[in-house]
């Protein structure tokens, strides 16, 4: 079976976009630039979700992440003064140790992936057994269907968590309660 040409192409394009965006996020002086790079990364990831046959998650990613959370970030960046922070030293004193620790972690990942995948194809691409149009209904059934709703309670708890987070954010951001 010949593999489709478009799939690797888009995968590497999007992966490169995400890696470059991630690097930009952690290296830019200006927090606005970082935020824009992060949006780029998130949008590329949403595209990857589509490639993984997860259209609902991709939509949620675009609407919630790129739309909601990132707007929140930009608002906060405008609220606080970042000019001074942009002129200062960007990395803390332990940056070398931090990179070393991350490198150790990366080395460990590489070691794990190489040793466990030696000579065989791990995690082959699964077959999609239903149409994309049913994806959203299936997730909804898992979340709040009366018969199949495995995660109904967790879903309600998540809504409560959001409520508490909203109230907590307001309390902390207000000048005087």
């Amino acid at each position: 079976m010949n593999p489709p040409v478009a799939t690797p192409f888009f995968f590497y394009l999007l992966a490169t976009t995400m890696i470059v965006g991630g690097i930009l996020v952690i290296t830019r002086k200006n927090a606005v630039h970082s935020a824009l790079a992060l949006i780029t990364t998130l949008l590329a990831q949403a595209a990857l979700y589509l490639m993984l046959y997860a259209p609902f998650v991709a939509g949620v990613q675009i609407i919630l992440y790129a739309g909601g959370i990132m707007v929140l970030f930009l608002f906060v960046i405008m609220l606080i003064s970042i000019e001074r922070a942009a002129k200062e030293r960007q990395f803390n004193k332990q940056w070398l140790v931090g990179i070393a620790a991350a490198a150790a972690l990366g080395g460990l990942f590489i070691a794990i992936y190489t040793t466990t995948t030696k000579g065989k194809t791990l995690f082959p691409e699964g077959q999609v057994s239903y149409g994309e149009s049913q994806n959203t209904q299936a997730i909804a059934a898992l979340l709040f269907d009366r018969v199949h709703g495995t995660y109904m309670f967790a879903f309600e708890i998540a809504s409560l968590l959001l409520l508490v987070a909203i109230i907590g954010a307001v309390v902390m951001a207000k000048k005087r309660i």
Binding site: P3, P8, G22, V25, I26, A31, S34, A35, L38, T41, L42, Q45, L48, L52, Y53, A54, V57, V60, L64, Y65, G68, L72, F73, L79, I80, R84, A85, E88, R89, Q90, F91, N92, W95, G98, I99, A102, L105, G106, F109, Y113, T121, L122, F123, P124, E125, G126, V128, S129, I139, L142, L143, Y151, L161, L162, A165, G168, A169, V170, M172, A173
Partner: protein, 115 residues
Amino acid sequence: MEAMLHITTLHYLVLGAALFLLGVIGVLTRRNVVIVLMSIELILNAVNLNLVAFSRYWQGMPGHLGGPGALHGQVFAIFVITDAAAEAAVGLGILIAFFRNKETVNVDEVNLLKW
């Protein structure tokens, strides 16, 4: 080359690991707390990518978690996104309070947890 062209779950896992490491580096080394928060978003997204990738993988597997109904990874991704939103709201609230009190966004200028 064969392995490179045939996109498997492992590719997504490697990409997720790379994003995760970038996020870890950002969290450990940047002074600007806004960017630290963004790095945390990077880490969460790396995890999300893994979850969705495994969801795609399990859809081809038999068994009670696999099969056509194996959307648990995606549901988890949605929960993680929900948590990320809550985390971003609370984290940015803390950030505003912090900036108001200390007139700075540099996370290493606060060491009240000492001793």
